[in-house]
């Protein structure tokens, strides 16, 4: 029952006596009578029993190592080099908290500074915070920040972003009374510039993704930025950072704010969490003052030696309280460090090769799936590919599952106009034989 975690359990009476108390209940004498209750909970178990039970439950999950899967849609099976996991499990990183005492936390502070720096290089912007919860909340915070900066209350978003992100966005902006305006996609599945122009007036910010939810590279992303800037709106880019070895940095494409998912590096899928949201901005005082989240800065110690410290804290909730730029406190530091280690491991060459490999695997997949079904959009796909079937997709899904293959993400519930489509995804981890097996089954059932 956990007493092995409680060294002083053996010294209760001794300590109580030493303090002049006679029982633990004395320490709860200020609790109103009847409020202390006996809980209806199971008794504690030994570590072995719990290990066995949890192992039994988790073994019931069918992992992608046991069942080829073509799911993507915002969560991807990337391979994490083993040393990344090993390093973030070192207890000095794992069990520390927010580095409030920089003198004994230089390791975590420097690691987070390096995370900020690596992301800064990747997205082409000089100011990066040390993480948000995930891409979705980072995007929502970007909407809030845009409204604060521009004092406008409209945020323009393309329809080709994920249902998850839309829902997060709506919840986050509700309190601030920001209106979300959606822009349709064109026949290529990319944001429709003409329709954007119609909606941009009075916008605090315009958001676009690279690649978008359909896995398509937004080829006119620079034009989107120009339209935003012409309307004095901030240009917010959401990015899958694994593409940034082959696609230009959003900062170079005119982005004022870049958000995205850092956990695609260094962190496994984990059934969807934890993640870590990227949040980066231009070096602009007006923007910095409104930025959410923890920021690590470089400074000196009393001897003039280089040191790192949390900085610009006057924006934050523990100081500004109701007037803070965000309520975020705990962020996703360890996830960010894992991403940093993975990025440092990849380096420029690795990141390029990763992008190229995924790009080629996606092209190969499109070619193969095109043999048995309809690829919905032309264009350049990265990871995700929407595929339309003649039969109801749930039937296809069942047929695949029966052959121990997990098909894609069913699009119809969220995008009626795409019909019986599903979003299939590949990455660098997709194995040749997986695609072969998929096509073989689809040939029979599609």
């Amino acid at each position: 029952m956990g007493r092995h975690y409680l060294p002083n359990s053996a010294h209760r009476n001794e300590m109580l006596k030493d303090m002049g108390f006679s029982s633990i209940e004395d320490l709860f004498s200020d609790v109103p009578k009847g409020m202390v209750k006996k809980f209806n909970l199971p008794e504690g178990k030994s570590e072995y029993e719990v290990f066995f039970e949890m192992n039994e439950a988790l073994s019931k999950n069918k992992t992608v190592l046991e069942m080829p899967s073509f799911l993507g849609a915002g969560t991807y099976f990337h391979y994490i080099p083993a040393h990344v996991k090993y390093l973030i499990e070192r207890s000095e990183f794992l069990t520390a908290y927010t580095p409030y005492q920089p003198e004994i936390s230089q390791g975590m502070l420097q690691a987070l500074f390096e995370y900020q720096s690596l992301i800064g290089e990747l997205v082409g912007l000089p100011i990066v915070n040390s993480s948000m919860y995930d891409w979705g909340t980072a995007m929502a915070e970007a909407a809030l920040m845009s409204a604060r900066v521009t004092r406008r209350n409209k945020f323009v978003v393309p329809r080709n972003i994920s249902p998850e992100k839309k829902m997060v966005l709506h919840t986050y902006v509700f309190g601030a009374g920001i209106e979300i305006e959606y822009v349709d996609w064109n026949e290529n599945g990319q944001i429709d510039l003409e329709k954007l122009k119609e909606k941009v007036e009075g916008a605090a910010g315009v958001y676009v993704e690279m690649p978008n939810f359909f896995g398509l590279i937004e080829e006119e992303i620079q034009a989107v930025g120009e339209i935003a800037h012409d309307a004095k709106a901030l240009f917010v880019v959401g990015v899958d950072p694994t593409i940034l070895g082959i696609v230009e940095a959003p900062g170079e494409l005119g982005a004022d704010i870049v958000v995205g998912e850092a956990a695609y590096f260094g962190n496994p899928m984990n059934f969807g969490g934890p993640r870590a949201g990227i949040f980066a901005i231009r070096d602009d005082k007006k923007l910095i003052r409104q930025m959410p989240g923890r920021i690590i800065g470089m400074t000196k110690d009393a001897d003039g030696k280089r040191a790192f410290v949390m900085t610009l804290q006057t924006r934050e909730q523990h100081i500004r309280r109701a007037k803070a730029t965000s309520n975020i406190c705990s962020n996703e530091a360890l996830v960010a460090v894992a991403a940093a280690i993975h990025l440092a491991t990849l380096g420029p060459k690795g990141l390029r090769e990763l992008g190229e490999t995924i790009l080629r695997n996606t092209a190969y997949f499109k070619k193969r799936i095109g043999e048995v079904a309809e690829v919905v959009f032309e264009g350049i796909n990265f990871k995700d590919v929407p595929v339309r079937f003649e039969r109801p997709y749930p039937e296809i899904h069942e047929a695949l599952l029966a052959k121990n293959i997990h098909g894609g993400y069913y699009l119809k519930p969220h995008f009626q106009e795409l019909g019986e489509s599903a979003l299939f995804a590949v990455t660098e981890t997709t194995r040749t034989e997986w695609v072969g097996a998929l096509i073989e089954v689809l040939r029979e059932v599609a």
Partner: protein
């Protein structure tokens, strides 16, 4: 020692990665205007990456390094079995959109955790979606907002928050669109009932409270508080940051709370990760369950199947993508199963024992003052105001001097209502020897302050870096390598 930045360790040509080859070498052209040009990432081999981050880790203090009595953060020992279980491939290698039939284990774990949390808090339904405490708070106040709106009470736009509250409380309320009304504390350090009475009105949406509060003091008039707020039509929100004090003994639901968030990383022993990931589940009474975020986890007794339930008609939507920090959830359930009913109760009792032991042993020491009531729960807040007045040594200096003894400092300057606050939360997993050593160190620093104040003011002396200049950091922020490089090239920085 000094460890260079990873960028400074880079040497052209080195590689640290391996990647599988593409399945087929298909040429795909990114349009010229979108093609990546510069990419200044560092180039290192794997052994160098490993050495670098190993060294960085050795420059960091964690719970396994020693006592870490950061007030309000509940830095308890993180059992390694949590990590072992969370390391199962059935955690890392499952996709959130997998067919429910293929993730029954994951759903079962989420369902089971919810059952534990219900009983622990006295709430009726939980969402595990929030990523951290503040994300949970936002969820909770959004639910309160939705509840009032749903009932047509659009005028309820005021959220009451005591002056001793965590900064996240007012910040979360503000994010949800509430006006924040601060309620003062009385001399006991608890909510001033009269002020509360005066504050409530038909505009009141609710009160956010943590009990015991951030002073470590139990709000003994919680019954009255709840009555006042409820009578005014408001709801009671429980900030679970301090639940460790009453875990297994007292339930927020029984105290009258309608909404509660918990911090799995504080109370349920999942590691803090240097600032995250956390997990901040939110529980509500039945009356509020229709507003919870989607999806909830359901269990069909007939089929024995677990499922994701998107059928929450009045849901506030989503506060984070997907279903929450699953890898953290797994750890928390592991902990709960090991502790069980009696273990949880004993843990909170020992946490309270440890905090009071420290309180009793330190009180009366010259330079330190114990404001408010003596009896504490999981933490205690001392004031170094006398020391500051008499010697010039501030709470910050004491904190820095503690580092010299190899001890982590308490939380300082919080709660705001105590001057020169030292907020100490030992938790239940430290030993008496560690407590004694901590008390001894605080006493010795007190003596030093009166005999040799400069020694304390210039602390720390034995750490890897000396006192860090945070004013400089804010004045000319250097946030990334690219900023640093540019400033360096322009000769504007000498670090």
């Amino acid at each position: 020692w000094d460890e260079p930045l990873i960028f400074e360790l880079s040497r052209p040509g080195r590689i640290g990665y391996t990647l599988p080859k593409p399945i087929e070498d298909i040429e795909v052209q990114i349009p010229e205007k979108l093609r990546r040009k510069r990419l200044d990432l560092p180039e290192l081999s794997e052994p160098e990456v490993v050495k670098h981050y190993t060294r960085l880790s050795e420059m960091n203090y964690g719970v396994d390094s020693g006592i870490y009595p950061l007030g309000s953060c509940t830095m308890k020992y993180n059992p390694k079995i949590n990590e072992e279980v969370a390391g199962h491939p059935g955690v890392a290698y499952i996709h959130p959109y997998q067919d429910e039939r293929t993730v029954q284990g994951a759903l079962k774990i989420m369902w089971e955790l919810e059952q534990w949390l219900r009983e622990i808090t006295g709430m009726d339904r939980f969402t595990l979606q929030p990523a951290a405490g503040a994300n949970g708070e936002f969820t909770g106040v959004m639910i309160i907002r939705a509840y009032h709106l749903d009932r047509g009470e659009t005028q309820r736009k005021e959220m009451l928050v005591p002056d001793s509250a965590h900064g996240t409380n007012p910040a979360s309320a503000a994010m949800a669109g509430f006006k924040v009304i601060e309620i003062p504390s009385n001399d006991n350090g608890t909510v001033d009932l009269e002020a509360l009475e005066n504050a409530v009105s038909e505009k009141t949406a609710g009160l956010m409270l943590t009990n015991p509060n951030t002073l470590g003091i139990f709000e003994d008039e919680i019954g009255e508080i709840a009555k006042i707020v409820h009578k005014a039509g408001g709801l009671l929100y429980y900030d679970g940051a301090n639940l460790n004090a009453v875990l297994g003994k007292i339930r927020p639901g029984d105290m009258g709370f309608d909404v509660v968030h918990l911090n799995l990383h504080k109370t349920f022993s999942t590691p803090h990760g240097g600032g995250g990931p956390g997990s901040g589940p939110v529980g509500v009474k039945d009356s509020l369950k229709d507003y919870l975020p989607v999806p909830l986890v359901g269990y069909d007794e007939k089929t024995g199947r677990y499922y994701l339930d998107y059928d929450v008609p009045k849901s506030i939507g989503k506060v984070k993508e997907l279903y929450g920090n699953f890898a953290v959830i797994v750890r928390a359930l592991t902990y709960l199963k090991i502790m069980g009913r009696d273990g949880l109760k004993e843990a909170s009792e020992i946490a309270v024992l440890n905090a009071n032991y420290l309180t009793q042993k330190l009180k009366g020491t010259r330079g330190y003052e114990l404001p408010h009531k003596e009896l504490r729960k999981h933490e205690v807040v001392f004031s170094a105001e006398p020391m500051k007045k008499e010697t010039g040594v501030k709470a910050l200096d004491i904190a820095k001097r503690l580092l010299d003894f190899g001890l982590h400092a308490p939380t300082i300057y919080f709660p705001l209502i105590v001057h020169e606050a030292l907020m100490i939360e030992p938790t239940e997993t430290v030993s008496k020897e560690e407590l004694d050593a901590y008390i001894e160190a605080l006493k010795r620093i007190g003596e030093e302050a009166y005999n040799n104040p400069e020694l304390v003011k210039s602390a720390p002396h034995n750490t890897a870096v000396k006192r860090v200049d945070d004013v400089l950091a804010a004045k000319r922020p250097i946030i990334t390598w690219r900023m640093y490089k540019e400033l360096k090239e322009r000769g504007e920085v000498d670090i």
